[in-house]
Symmetry: D4
Subunit: 253 residues, 8 copies
């Protein structure tokens, strides 16, 4: 908000130096951001404890390092996704407290891993070890945003007993992220077993007619279980973010 | 649970008529449902106020009428989706309190429409009038499940001011369902404006290269806004159901 | 085999009327079918108890009636697939013992339904009631070919306990046909629970991004369970036929 | 099965120290795996002569070596698929009896190649030399699972006489795996010539509009011959596994 | 060619009334069609015995009748494709010698069917009876253009012996049109058996994953046999036309 | 703009009754539409001579009649697209000056057809008679928006001389709409011949592998000629609208 | 135009050495290019200030250098697209005034960047930094063709206020190029806000179900805003070229 | 043909040592290849002057060298396609007369290039320089098979005059191969200009929505010109082979 300029105009208006029309015209023409739509402008960044997010995929190592450094100056929680090892090391040079997560391809500042024993508000359920990088991206995203997370790995439907044996660990979470490739059937099975919002993340794991995750994506969109919604292929960040938003509704009012 | 049989066996065991091995074997072989996994078996139906759901698309009018009648005997809330007018009339013959919703293709028992003035836990935001049937399916689904719903219609991105002017009505909902066809851009725009979970429902509205909703589906899956997840094309029920599950997490613990 | 002609030639050869070269040339030029490749020519039809099959989809009612009538004259088992009611009635006019199966769209002669109590060599497992026409097409096909069939209906993965509760009924079949639409996850779950050949039949049941059965097809092809193979969308006949062939290997040697 | 705990409870029950309700409750709450669903838990691994399978595609060389070593300690037959040469060598370092199959990308322990002269229970028929890696993956898979295998190579339909000349070698197998790329017509031709279950494996061999195996996949799914079912593109393991399951039904009862 | 005008100008030029520049300018500015590009303008219609072609699919019965009538006034051979019965009858009202071919959806004037006994320059080979309408469209097209045609029906690859038994009838044709739906394997098998140009016509016959002829189209494009080229799905006219062009090259010089 | 309220506030401010902060706060909270973004709110409708547009495809005849009637009260130019005959008649009942265009499926008020002789600012070039409905939709759209239009029909590339002969009629237009189905090659040929902005409109005309206009769409997007941009399949309105916008840039400053 | 030859013929004709027929025949057979269709032959290259364009993607560095050098000899404006650094350096060796633009992959001669302060005839609006290479390709193309360009970067719809805040900078351009990947919603939002021709350029930026730009492409083709047309994925050159053509219509008459 | 064995049997038959039945049975069981179907077995290789073909894409350099060497021993004409430079050099080591064609990726023995001045039986027409490798593959294939070839390069439809100017060079060929990427419009334009069989070869040249040649493939399949048939993407060999087959029909009888 160009407070100064508008306030001066109002002073001049009150002083009779400008007429009503002039003030009305000025207001109508105010550039949008000048109106101080703080909610829009800063709506993601200004909330306490909410992480700033950098998408590294199309950036150089230098760009990532600089952006991370600047964000780290004004925020306690910073998240960089799709980062390679080189980017991770470069960031740690300038922000020593940052951590690099190789499996998930994330760089974090201010992240705290949920203790194994905790019953997480968010559960991240993963079909196979090949899906782990996407699952970790989801889990760490939810954690740095402020949710506690329960991780349940390697419970694909080809060995149903493993899933059933772990069910008690996550059926009370507020949101469940299901990460699976191939046919993605885990989303339907989990969605049929529990009464919680399920965010399904298809992965590109699979061969031939998996078509880079298309099979899992279509499978999850057509889930015969209610309450399942889907994010983009391999988009662990999106799944973790959505799950955190859901989990945080409980205390939002 | 075949209580009687197992209890009799235990009595005989206690009486020394059968040995430990026999009991162990019997237990191991119990059919799953005999173990009384009530949570699984009835997990959706037994909760108070939760509607029973009938999918009419592949059923005859007679089947729909009968199933609805039987469910209405044991439940105060029944929902039938993808019902045509004939099905609606047939149900009302046997369940006079049932209502038929022509636009949404729903038959409901026990449904209460949220008052216009209420700030709904769930918001259903709709791009154009062609998308209204899907939006109404979502809204009524959420309402009969127990959520209050704010409806915001005709706010497609081609007339951005309308959306911005209605934003205050739904930015405090706990979950927002965005229903849009064509390119589905409304999901991204809404997702960028508010910090709430957005469930995007692509519709098959559109011509030529809309390919029956594929364009909107892909658009929503690739949304540049975080926190957007997607359900199947024209799946208003799925969108409303997921949004209700999210909204109900607040009071779930 | 043009026995007569060849035998005459051989007689003339033995009589010294024609030389070796002439016989050799004659043999080399024999038309393929004249060589009596009975195995090829009649390889499907001549085995005892094996049904003749008519595909009605692209034929007129008159054609179906005539072909069925002629086949019924020389075979005890006849099967017509994709037949509508009119075709069924027309056939019964000329072959009174024929039966028309409305749900499955089949006309049969010589078909015997497997008794409910029998443990079938083939099991046909079906996800939902919408998939029943395809499942019945599979079951009746296997039965008329000579297999006994166990039918297991309405055990989709959204209600896992139902499937687990019925597992004992079909886990000893020699081949299991799994019929499912939407995401087709049932094939993976069944394939993970039993050690038998699974023939998966995707159906076109589903909306929007099911894309006419494509989602189920891709899901089944990408099944994370081993031992699952797939036939064409809605191809119940193909599934039942393949399962019968598998089941009949046991006694084939 | 936590035998000890349950047995102790039953002893106390028999001793009158706990009542029937307590035992009933305990049984109902038993974790799934505690019920000793050996069939589920170990259902693939515990049968004599059945190989353990490792999927190497998403694992490091170290992981493959370690998993193979541990499986080799408790099983005489181990199979690792999609293994590169480095993995093969690393496994041989710790399990000297293991073999690496370069063409097929497999590592095996306890594998015996079927003699050329044997009439295999499983036949693996291959269209061209480019399809050989997938065909070998199928053949070795079936062999290590316990089937004898007849290999028939380079009999694509462009030279039909070669296929016809080899037909006698495999028409008595109990299951036939047909491996073909490009248009995949071999599956239809073989399926039309023999009365055996055919498992078709499309390969990604081909250029341009083969679209990575899609043309062969669609061709095989639409086979005009009955009795053909299909597995994923390039999935030789899946084809060999399904064929072995079929072949083993003969002696299964 | 506006002969008169140009000739007058040249006369005036010769008479010295206009100068060279004027003539040069005039020539440069001649409208394209005025230059008498007869080859272009009439290149298809002016050759003796070559049919005029009307595509009826997007025309009204009245339009078809009128266009056919006018063409019949100046040509002995007229062909109308994709015509329904009503159009056929309407044309016969005004051109009594015209014939309507119901199976193929064609109206012809001046068509002579090739005698059964003749060895055609063009062969039309058809996989199944469902493909007959497309095959007849091809055959009649080639005939009315001037080729003699051999028809070979119902020789799909599922019964290979039938094809082999008919091979002698068409292996000497100058061009072979292969019409097949489902997986379209017939094109590859025929292409592998004979050394003639093969024009493959995929048909939309087939179910589910045939995707309206896509499976056959891709199969034919990826044919492992050399010398196969492909036209659009169900485009019998295109196949017959191309085959006629090929066959007519023999006498074209 | 709620002029009254804001002006009263400003008066009170000038009168010293409210302080600067109050005014500032009031301004910041003004609803978007209250700010009088006339450009946004009415940006399409308020310009003189610019038509109001109704999309009829998803509306009832009653809705179309009412909306048209109301728009006709406040505007001299109204356009309704995708209207059927019944809608056209219904509108003419209430707005007698309206015209219904059967071929193009349009209802217009205030439309004037460009005289044949005029050199239009916009040219609409059409490949075949089957594409005429889309071409007319484009031409009438541009005309009612205020452009003069040259129509060039039936100049598909299969008869190149016709196109070359008509080139002089449209090569001076300011924008050229090219309407073509099948392979859509006309866009490339026209784009290569003239130095004007070309808007290509693919149509769904074509069979088999035209896939409902996909072939033409992809062809036009990949045009080897520069200056070609593309709108949705069969979207004549979009093509005419874009061309009018381009043509009107000339006088826009 | 082979002026000499034709003129000589005309002289001989005037001299009575050849008759009218001979001249007529000669004229009819003139090769097309001999007729001096300068408009066609040189139609793109001969206009003052219009750049020559080289497409480098399929050329060697040597070819690019040579072609550029030769064009630079006869033209003041040369543009090479899809050039890598090595090509850029090689060209500068022989044409020292050439510039290489690394981000856009362009080599230019005679290019002048529009000053920041200028209100461009063409605006290039870009959703995110990942889309910048394509946007720069568009901007520089328009500039070297002769348009002035306003660049507006990083105004994706996820942060709507940024777009609204920059709107005044480009709403008066004559043509607006919108460059966006992911879901491409920016085209619809911009198209809804301004009354100018919008050329949408989808980019391949995005992951998973973006399918290499397909999602953005379909989104833009289905834009709910009128006046949006689309060019090929990542085709910045095409977008800039089309926009320049549009902008140049204003002064074209 | 196992002449000896059969002849001995016939001798014994004539000598009365075996009876008619024995001979009949023997003949029926003759393996297919034993019947001496020389036409099938060698049908491609045995004709004079017809090249042997090796497809190198899936072979090692050693394999290519050995196969080429062996074929060169028994044939004067050998063709290897999709060969890289290393393969070319390796072959020249062992077959010094062989030639390597870098652009086309071919190795040839016995190839003679058609003189520039000759009017070829086959014409290979190419849209752009990027399509040249595929065009050369087609041209050399036709030449080594025995056709004379006219090459016409760089006549894409964006510069129509070049194509028209070259038309006289190839309009008398017996078969025309049209090689084009991007939208592939050249096939339609050529097909519309000449009355010869056109074999269209789509290439993968193009960006974004060319989708690896899909756009050109669909464009060519939907050609509005009659007489155009299509081979696989980038399949120059297939195009040249088909054209040679067509051209050779003239002298085939």
């Amino acid at each position: 908000m160009r407070d100064a300029a508008l306030e001066r105009l109002l002073e001049r208006f009150r002083a009779g130096e400008v007429d009503t029309d002039t003030v009305m015209q000025y207001i109508k023409k105010l550039p949008y951001d000048d109106l101080g739509f703080a909610k829009i402008d800063y709506h993601r960044g200004i909330r306490q404890g909410f992480a700033e997010v950098i998408y590294c995929a199309s950036k150089t190592t230098e760009q990532v390092r600089e952006i991370f450094r600047r964000l780290a100056e004004r925020s306690d929680h910073v998240l960089a996704t799709r980062a390679n090892r080189e980017m991770g090391m470069a960031v740690k040079d300038v922000v020593p407290k940052a951590q690099y997560h190789e499996v998930a391809g994330l760089i974090t500042l201010g992240w705290k891993r949920t203790p194994e024993s905790a019953a997480g508000e968010v559960a991240v359920v993963c079909a196979g070890t090949s899906d782990l990088p996407v699952a970790e991206e989801a889990a760490i995203t939810a954690e740095i945003m402020g949710s506690s997370v329960t991780r349940v790995n390697d419970v694909g439907v080809a060995g149903l007993h493993r899933l059933l044996g772990e069910l008690h660990r996550f059926e009370d979470a507020r949101a469940v992220v299901v990460v699976a490739g191939m046919e993605g059937a885990l989303a339907s099975v989990v969605g049929g077993l529990i009464d919680k919002p399920v965010i399904a993340v298809p992965t590109s794991v699979g061969y031939g007619a998996a078509f880079g995750g298309l099979a899992a994506l279509l499978g999850m969109l057509n889930s015969c279980a209610s309450g399942v919604s889907v994010v983009n292929i391999d988009n662990g960040f999106g799944g973790g973010y959505a799950a955190h938003l859901i989990a945080s509704q409980a205390s939002a009012r």
